[in-house]
C-alpha cells in the first residue's frame, strides 16, 4: 500500500485536512474520507458531471482531479449551497420547478448552475444549455432544469 499524503484545503469555507493516497481522486476523498456524499459518481472519467464541485470558483469534475492537487485550494460542494437553514435560490427553483426526478444528477447541476450564474447573472437559454452541457441527466429531458436556472437567474436579479 502506498504511503499517505497530507493535504490541507478548504471545503465549504471550513479548513479541512486529510491523508490520502496519490491515486485517490478528489471525488473519492470527498465521499470516502470526508463523508461528503453529495457529489455523485456517474462515470468516474469526466463525462457526466455528477461529481461537479467548485475548485477555486471554477466547476470541475472531481472524479478526474487528484485529491493531492487540492492542497491550499478552496472547494465548494453541493453541501455548501444552502446556508443557515435556507436553500439557495437555485435549489429552491429546482425544487419548485420539478427540475429533478431521480435526483442523482441534481448536485452536479446545482453546482454547475451556480458557477454559471456567479459569472453570468443574466444568461440566455443558449448560454444555459451550453454551460450545462457538461452535465448529463437521463430523467428530465433538461426542459425543467433549464427553466429552473432561468427562474433562479430572475430571482437572483431581484435581490
Amino acid at each position: 500500500m502506498s504511503k499517505k499524503i497530507h493535504v490541507s484545503t478548504t471545503v465549504n469555507g471550513e479548513s479541512v485536512e486529510f491523508l490520502c493516497e496519490a491515486r485517490q481522486s478528489l471525488l473519492e476523498v470527498l465521499r470516502e474520507n470526508l463523508s461528503l456524499t453529495g457529489a455523485k459518481e456517474g462515470c468516474n472519467n469526466g463525462n457526466c458531471g455528477a461529481c461537479t464541485v467548485m475548485l477555486n470558483g471554477v466547476p470541475v469534475n472531481s472524479c478526474i482531479v487528484l485529491a493531492v492537487e487540492v492542497e491550499g485550494a478552496a472547494i465548494e460542494t453541493v453541501e455548501g449551497l444552502a446556508c443557515h437553514g435556507h436553500l439557495h435560490p437555485i435549489q429552491k427553483c429546482f425544487l419548485e420547478g420539478a427540475a429533478l426526478q431521480c435526483g442523482v444528477c441534481t448536485p452536479g447541476f446545482l453546482v454547475t448552475a451556480k458557477a454559471l450564474l456567479d459569472k453570468n447573472p443574466n444568461p440566455s437559454e443558449h448560454d444555459i444549455r451550453f454551460n450545462l452541457a457538461n452535465n448529463l441527466c437521463r430523467c428530465t429531458g433538461y426542459d425543467k432544469i433549464v427553466k429552473a436556472v432561468q427562474a433562479a437567474a430572475a430571482e437572483l436579479q431581484t435581490r
Partner: protein, 758 residues
C-alpha cells in the same frame, strides 16, 4: 400550450390531484443529503470488484485466484461454483413468469462459458476499491475463444455460432428438435390477412433495423451486502423492486425469502434496467465468505458491457389501405435479440406493433433470439419503440401515397373502445383519438415551418400499464399528519403522486402526508416499479388506505360525539353529524385527549388486467446535408394521462422519455467491432443527449379517465419513449425526402443515405 385541465374529460373536481406540490423528498435531493446506495458506509466494509470476460464468446478453461488471494487486503474471491446447485430450478416471479434460475445465476457469474464481452466471471472483496481492482487483475482466467454473433438475423441462421447447446425453439408450445439461437417463435393472428390485403388499393412494405441502446441511468448499479452472523442477509441496493430483488436473491442462494432484507435506497434512474439482479447475489456471497459487509459499485464501462441493453431488432412491416384511407390489413415479422439468455422483449413488441390501429386483418410473427450481447432488459415500454419505428413510418408512407393528412389517416383508423388488438385484448375506454385531436389542434401542428432542409414529422405510440400487487400502511399523528409507508421504490417522484392520492381521499393537503418507501420487513408485498404501474396500482392502494383511515376517523368522531359512526358524513376532510363538525386534524388532536385507539390503516390491492396509454409526438427538424446531422428545432409530446396526479411530474415523464427517444433516434447505439466487442462503452463515446442537443420539449396532457381507477389515473412513464424515433424519421423524410429505415439515424448513417440517393 394547451392547459391540462382544458382537455380533462372526467367530471370530478379535485382538491389535491392536478396541483403541483413540492415533492416530499425534494429537499434532501437538492442539498446532497439523499442516500443512494453508493453513499451507504458500514463499519469494516469491504469493496468488491467483478472480473469480466474480454471475449464475446468463450469457454472458461480455468480460473486461478491464488495470486489475488495472497495479496494483503484481499478477503474473498467467488465464482459461479459458490452458487448452490440450481439445475432444473425455476422460480415464479410475478409478471416475469417462470424464471430459469440456472440462467439468472449464470448471468451474475458465468458458468462454463462466457456469452458476451463484459460477462462476469469472478469477484473479489478487498479493503478498498484500489486493492480490489488490482486483485481482480490478478485473477487468471484461461479461455478458449469461440465464434460469436451480435446481429439478430445472423444469429438466426442455421450455421450461426450456438450460444446454448440445449436451446430448442419453442414455437407455440412445440419444441424444435435441433438446437438454435431462436428461443421462441410467437404468432398472433386476427381475421385473414390474405383476404385483407386483397381488398387493399395501396400496400406499403418496408424493412427496419435498430441497434441496441442502453437505459443510461446516471447512477451505476450498486449494492451493499451484509450477511450477518444470525444468517440474515441485509441488502442496501438500487432496485426498481425491493421484493423482486429479495426473491431473486433468495432463490439464487436457495434461502427463505424472509431471511433476506432489502433496503431500497434512493435510486438514480432505472427505466427498466434495475429489475434483474447483477451484483446483489455476488456481494452476498462475498459477504458470507469474508464475514464482512461488502460494497460493490459498477464502473460505467461495466454498466454498458455487463447490464441490460434493449434488443437490437429487425422488423418487416406491411400495411394495406383502401383509397379512402381505411386500413384493411397488416402483417409484421419481428426478430428481437434477447442477448445471452432467452426471454427478451419480443412479446410486448408483437402486442404493440399494430396496437394504435383498428385492423380487421392482421398477423404478427415474433422471434426471441439469443446472441453475444448482455442479456437484454426492459427499457421504458420495452419492445414498443422498435415496433413503432417500423409501423409509424409505414403509416406515414401510406398517408403520402394516398395523399391524406397523416393525422387524418390515423384518426380514421385509430384504436378505440371495443377495438380488438391482434394479441387478443379488447380496449376499454382509451384516449388515442383525443390525443390525435389535441395534436391536430395544437399550435405546433398549425404553425408554419419554412426553410430549406426542414421538415415536420408526427408519430404515435402505445404502451399498456400493468397492475400487480401493491401494499401500503399509514398512521395518523396527533397533529393530523399522516405517515405513509409504501412499497414502491420511487424512481421519478411517485412517493408524491401516491401521497397526493391518499391526501385527496382523506380531504387533507398533500403536505400533510409524509410518504416513505418501506424496506421489505416493514411494508406488505409490493410488485416492482415498472410497467407504468405505480401511480396507478400503488395509487389505488393509497386510495383504499384512505378509505380505511377515513372509516376509523369516523369511528373516533363517533366516540367523541357518542353517536353511530354510520350517521357521520365526510366532505373534503370535514366530518359532520347532527350539527357537530370537526376537521380531520381536529379529530386527530382529540384522539389522545379522549384516550381513543390510535388510527393505523392499511391496504393491499392486486388489480387485474391493464390499462392503456397512447401518445402522439410532433417534431420539426433541420438536416445538414453536408454532415448528415439532424437538429431538432421544436418538439411537442401529447399524451393521455387519464388523470394527471402531479402535472409537473407527468410532463417530466413525457419530456424525459422524449429525450431518451430522441437520443435513440439520432445517436445512441452499441457499436460492435469485428470481434463483437463494444467499442463505445463510455458516456463520451456512447453520447446520450446533453441539454445543448435538445430544444424545450412542449407537452400537452390529455385526460381521458381510466375506467378502472377511482381517479381515472393511467400510468404515464413509458409511452413517451415510443414515438420519437418514428417521429424524427418522418420529419427527416419531410425535410429531405429520404426514408431512414435504420436506427440510429446518426450523421454518418444519414449522410450515407443522402449521398447514395444523390
Amino acid at each position: 400550450m394547451a392547459h391540462a385541465n382544458e382537455l380533462y374529460l372526467g367530471k370530478q373536481d379535485y382538491q389535491v390531484l392536478g396541483k403541483r406540490p413540492v415533492r416530499h423528498d425534494g429537499t434532501d435531493k437538492v442539498t446532497g443529503k439523499a442516500i443512494y446506495t453508493a453513499d451507504v458506509q458500514l463499519p469494516n466494509m469491504l469493496h468488491g470488484k467483478i472480473v469480466r470476460s474480454p471475449h464475446a464468446h468463450a469457454r472458461i478453461k480455468s480460473i486461478d485466484a491464488s495470486e489475488a488471494l495472497a495479496m494483503p487486503g484481499v478477503f474473498a474471491v467467488v465464482t459461479a461454483d459458490d452458487f448452490p446447485d440450481l439445475t432444473e430450478k425455476f422460480a415464479l416471479m410475478g409478471e416475469a413468469g417462470q424464471v430459469n434460475l440456472t440462467e439468472l445465476a449464470a448471468n451474475c457469474l458465468a458458468k462454463g462459458k462466457v456469452l458476451y464481452r463484459g460477462h462476469a466471471v469472478a469477484a473479489v472483496a478487498a479493503a478498498n476499491v484500489h486493492i480490489a481492482d488490482e486483485a481482480a487483475s490478478k485473477i487468471k482466467v484461461e479461455y478458449e475463444v469461440l465464434p460469436s454473433v451480435t446481429w439478430v438475423l445472423d444469429a438466426m441462421k442455421d450455421d450461426a455460432p450456438l450460444l446454448h447447446e440445449h436451446l430448442r425453439t419453442d414455437s407455440m408450445g412445440k419444441k424444435a428438435d435441433k438446437p438454435s439461437n431462436i428461443a421462441v417463435h410467437l404468432q398472433f393472428e386476427k381475421g385473414n390477412v390474405t383476404d385483407g390485403f386483397q381488398q387493399a388499393d395501396v400496400i406499403v412494405e418496408r424493412e427496419f433495423r435498430t441497434a441496441s441502446v442502453h437505459q443510461g441511468y446516471i447512477e451505476p448499479h450498486a449494492v451493499v451486502a451484509l450477511w450477518n452472523e444470525d444468517s440474515r442477509l441485509k441488502l442496501w441496493t438500487a432496485t426498481q423492486g425491493s421484493f423482486n430483488c429479495r426473491q431473486q436473491v433468495a432463490e439464487l442462494l436457495q434461502i427463505p425469502v424472509s431471511q433476506v432484507l432489502v433496503v431500497p435506497c434512493e435510486i438514480g434512474g432505472g427505466f427498466g434496467g434495475k429489475i434483474t439482479v447483477y451484483l446483489e447475489p455476488v456481494a452476498a456471497l462475498l459477504s458470507r465468505k469474508s464475514g464482512r459487509p461488502v460494497k460493490m459499485v459498477m464502473q460505467r464501462n461495466e454498466v454498458f458491457e455487463g447490464t441490460g441493453p434493449t434488443p437490437g431488432s429487425f422488423a418487416r412491416v406491411k400495411l394495406g389501405a383502401k383509397k379512402d384511407g381505411t386500413l384493411v390489413a397488416g402483417e409484421a415479422w419481428l426478430a428481437y435479440d434477447c442477448g445471452a439468455f432467452p426471454g427478451g422483449m419480443i412479446g410486448p413488441g408483437c402486442m404493440c406493433v399494430f396496437s394504435c390501429y383498428d385492423l380487421p386483418h392482421a398477423k404478427v410473427d415474433g422471434f426471441d433470439v439469443c446472441n453475444n450481447k448482455p442479456k437484454t432488459q426492459a427499457y421504458r415500454a420495452p419492445g414498443s419503440t422498435q415496433a413503432a419505428f417500423a409501423c409509424e413510418q409505414v403509416i406515414d408512407e401510406l398517408a403520402e401515397k394516398l395523399n391524406i393528412d397523416p393525422i387524418e389517416l390515423r384518426l380514421k383508423n385509430a384504436a378505440k373502445e371495443g377495438t380488438r388488438r391482434v394479441d387478443g385484448p379488447v380496449y376499454p375506454r382509451v384516449g388515442f383519438v383525443e390525443c390525435l385531436n389535441a395534436a391536430k389542434n395544437s399550435e405546433h401542428w398549425k404553425s408554419k415551418l419554412s426553410g430549406k432542409n426542414r421538415g415536420r414529422g408526427i408519430a404515435a405510440g402505445f404502451w399498456f400499464n400493468i397492475g400487480g400487487a401493491s401494499s401500503c400502511s399509514a398512521s395518523v399523528n396527533d397533529d393530523g399528519i399522516v405517515c405513509l409507508v409504501e412499497g414502491s421504490t420511487d424512481i421519478g417522484g411517485t412517493r408524491t403522486s401516491i401521497a397526493m392520492q391518499l391526501a385527496e381521499t382523506l380531504g387533507i393537503a398533500a403536505e400533510d402526508v409524509r410518504p416513505q418507501v418501506g424496506d421489505t420487513d416493514s411494508v406488505g408485498y409490493t410488485f416492482l416499479t415498472g410497467g407504468s404501474r405505480v401511480t396507478f396500482a400503488t395509487g389505488l392502494a393509497a386510495y383504499q388506505l384512505g378509505l380505511d383511515l377515513q372509516e376509523q376517523m369516523k369511528q373516533r368522531a363517533a366516540s367523541i360525539w357518542d353517536c353511530d359512526p354510520t350517521s357521520i358524513t365526510v366532505d373534503k376532510g370535514v366530518y359532520k353529524q347532527n350539527g357537530h363538525s370537526l376537521t380531520f386534524k381536529q379529530i386527530a388532536a382529540k384522539i389522545p385527549e379522549n384516550q381513543l385507539d390510535p388510527v393505523v390503516g392499511r391496504a393491499s390491492v392486486a388489480p387485474e388486467g391493464s390499462t392503456n396509454a397512447f401518445g402522439v409526438h410532433i417534431a420539426d427538424v433541420e438536416v445538414d446535408p453536408e454532415t448528415g446531422k439532424v437538429t431538432v428545432l421544436r418538439y411537442t409530446a401529447i399524451q393521455d394521462a387519464g388523470k394527471a396526479v402531479h402535472p409537473s411530474y407527468v410532463e417530466g415523464q413525457m419530456q424525459g422519455g422524449a429525450a431518451q427517444g430522441i437520443g435513440w433516434a439520432l445517436n445512441e447505439e452499441y457499436f460492435f467491432d469485428a470481434k463483437d466487442q463494444m467499442r463505445n462503452a463510455s458516456f463520451l463515446d456512447y453520447r446520450m443527449p446533453t441539454c445543448l442537443d435538445l430544444p424545450m420539449i412542449d407537452t400537452i396532457i390529455v385526460e381521458v379517465p381510466n375506467p378502472s381507477h377511482p381517479y381515472g389515473v393511467r400510468g404515464v412513464g413509458e409511452t413517451p419513449i415510443v414515438p420519437p424515433p418514428a417521429t424524427i424519421a418522418n420529419a427527416i423524410h419531410a425535410a429531405v425526402g429520404t426514408r431512414m429505415t435504420q436506427l440510429p439515424m446518426s450523421p454518418p448513417a444519414l449522410w450515407k443515405a443522402l449521398s447514395e440517393r444523390a
